[in-house]
Subunit: 481 residues, 2 copies
Amino acid sequence: MQPPQHPLRLPDRLARALADIVGADALLTDPADCWAYGYDNSRRQGQPGAVVFVRAAEQVRQLVQLCADAHLPVTGRGLGTGTTGATVPERGGLVIAFERMNRLLQIDGANRLARVEPGLTNQALQQALEKHGFFWPPDPTSAAVCTIGGNLAYNSAGPRAVKYGTPRENTLGLTAVTGTGELIRTGVNTTKGVVGYDLTRLLIGSEGTLGLIVGATLKLSPLPEARRTLAATYKDIHAAATAVAAIMAQPVTPCALEFMDAAAIEMVREFSDLGLAPETGAMLMIEVDGPAGCVEISAAAVSAAARVPGLLELRTAADPADVAALWKTRKALSPALRHVAPKKINEDVVVPVSHMASFIDGLDQLSRRTGIRIVNFGHAGNGNIHVNLLVDPDDSDELRRAQECLNAVFDLVVHFGGTLSGEHGVGLEKRDFVDRELDPAALRLMHAIKRQFDPAGILNPGKGLPAPGPESEPKSQSQSE
Amino acid sequence: MQPPQHPLRLPDRLARALADIVGADALLTDPADCWAYGYDNSRRQGQPGAVVFVRAAEQVRQLVQLCADAHLPVTGRGLGTGTTGATVPERGGLVIAFERMNRLLQIDGANRLARVEPGLTNQALQQALEKHGFFWPPDPTSAAVCTIGGNLAYNSAGPRAVKYGTPRENTLGLTAVTGTGELIRTGVNTTKGVVGYDLTRLLIGSEGTLGLIVGATLKLSPLPEARRTLAATYKDIHAAATAVAAIMAQPVTPCALEFMDAAAIEMVREFSDLGLAPETGAMLMIEVDGPAGCVEISAAAVSAAARVPGLLELRTAADPADVAALWKTRKALSPALRHVAPKKINEDVVVPVSHMASFIDGLDQLSRRTGIRIVNFGHAGNGNIHVNLLVDPDDSDELRRAQECLNAVFDLVVHFGGTLSGEHGVGLEKRDFVDRELDPAALRLMHAIKRQFDPAGILNPGKGLPAPGPESEPKSQSQSE
């Protein structure tokens, strides 16, 4: 099934056919021009044979048909903010860039839905929705520069998922082009519907390996009237994790429940004075939202739950300036990390909330054993932990130890019943690890589904799932006895 | 692919093999005994060749392997409350009854999850969860006597879906047995996860045609502290629909937003005096929930939205007795319907909320044209409308007109961009209609997915999807040009 390797330059005949579909001004074939569309935020790089800028589903349909006939790999691309190499054209071929197919087609408040093209940025959508009193819950950190198509391809969420869910819970229907160049329409225009199999959720999170999403009907939520922000510091991660469990066990679900561990706090301290007590071992940022008359009550409820033994300080923001001050620590983290370790390995594993403290203890032991500094922060309410391994890219021994450490991190995640990715996806980065987590029989079915959507194997080949082994074929009945 | 028809009695050899797996006390083979497991609430009836009462996933695995080898149809069955014939063994074969595989295995409050066997009733689950301060949002009307496995098979929701979603939004993972007798594990233990394709949602709503669900990890929600109930009457359905849109456009999402049309109100009036003004043309039942200190504010917000021109009366319940009084009209409806029309055709179509009034106008015209009395009520917040055609079963001409009318109802639903089923599923009842709604290319993929999960075509054959035509095979590439 592995497609042949393709030379950097496409045959002229193929290049002309691409230009016929999208127009010459929407086609790049010069390797130097194409280079800029071969990377993502994983810092991996591939070399596309050509890049096209599409504007319509019909163009995508024709392009994929052409590539299916030519057995040319096709990789969809939003704005390249992914962190797993899922949009890196490892095997060359065609990159379909959706950045110009970015219209917001409809906002329908009465039906709480919006219709969008895949290249629209998350932020542009939110700004347009705000005027109508709505928002779309998924809010990745990269919202300003990431596309809805990318959010759907990775099922990317962000802090608000703890209350509002991920793209899978906030999408009503899709249009997509499968590997045979067929346009399919999935899902419904309504919040209920159970006719046919759920292809909408199957496509969401499939990283462009089953189909290229060319349109989406998104489920909107009404903007809450008000929000309250709290910061709580604890003597250690165990106390903070106890607070997280207590917060999640009472009726007010926060709209953000973020945490930073001791290593993260220490790192931030190196760069700015945040006025945190020296004994601070963990920190939670908690937000609640709702009707203006309710947020005080909601804030009081989560505050009460956050007051567990080991709490050092609990502050509620008094005004917007104070909110900004409270978020300062959390926001200082990313630049600090970049400064210390430009080549950090940033994972986004998930463990059940009740195992979070033990998991971070385990990471601590791993860090001491391998000598790799590990900094953890993330979305505590979902147990979604961004595990950052800080590595000097020029130290080959450290890189080797970091890989060993990462390997052990994934084993630890599986040991605690977690999952290797909460929202970054698998791409190339985790492709060779996910069979530790996935059930072998389920994995065989995933490969079988892939073959139905993409019989020629041209859609983002080699991403998301480990390569099918001899075990990947469905068992014949005689074998299954 | 149509399996051979099977005689009523199984060959002795096969019956012995079944007994070897489940034990003789968990096997029925006498046609008279089996008869009771061949119906559901659609009032259709099939005749199983055998019925087994399973207690463990491993038994299900062995049974399905046996049936795959023998090419014997297998139909899973909870407690038979479905309304579409999805559990009716139209082609005979084996009925696997899950009613004894009904343990609640774990309630894990810190991680907001419960693990259950498929035969547990919805109500038994809710009662156990209540003690821990949680609930599972799906709440079909049949909750007292329907199983979680059935809820998942149909994606059955109920009134709370408007705020809390359907089983697809409230399930973390599944174990299931596919048509080859393989046990698969899907999903995660956490609220985020994007490793592999989403087989969990693919199985949910697939009516036992892709796999038999033998275990589920359910996502729990904390029980709200308090609830407020309101009833609003309007001069006509247009006013009520305007109120629904206004309620859905403001920040407080009700946990129930039910409606009754003029025909429904008139029907109830025939049986009891409800004290409704004679000019009442539509009614909404609205509930909000949340922290005790917030529900008054929430109730005020939805009340304000409900006050549109055409409002006749808006009442808020003062106490539990008053809540019961307010629900009296809605609760009187079912017995009234049963009395007037034991053979009612009860559909559960969905249209976008903004088209609800026009849709009901359209039904009104249909009713006048065909002479079939139509009564509508349902879950207004989702646009999920229970359309009841009242038919005298002894009047063959009326039955013919009712079918004609139903046919036109489905066309009207599709015209308004709706879906033929919100929560009852497709089964046998709607199997021959759903290709009006489903995209042909998507339907071909659904059939292709079915073949991967169930190559022998033994799992609930003929349900859910229209029979694959010559068009169902994936297009070859030359055809797709």
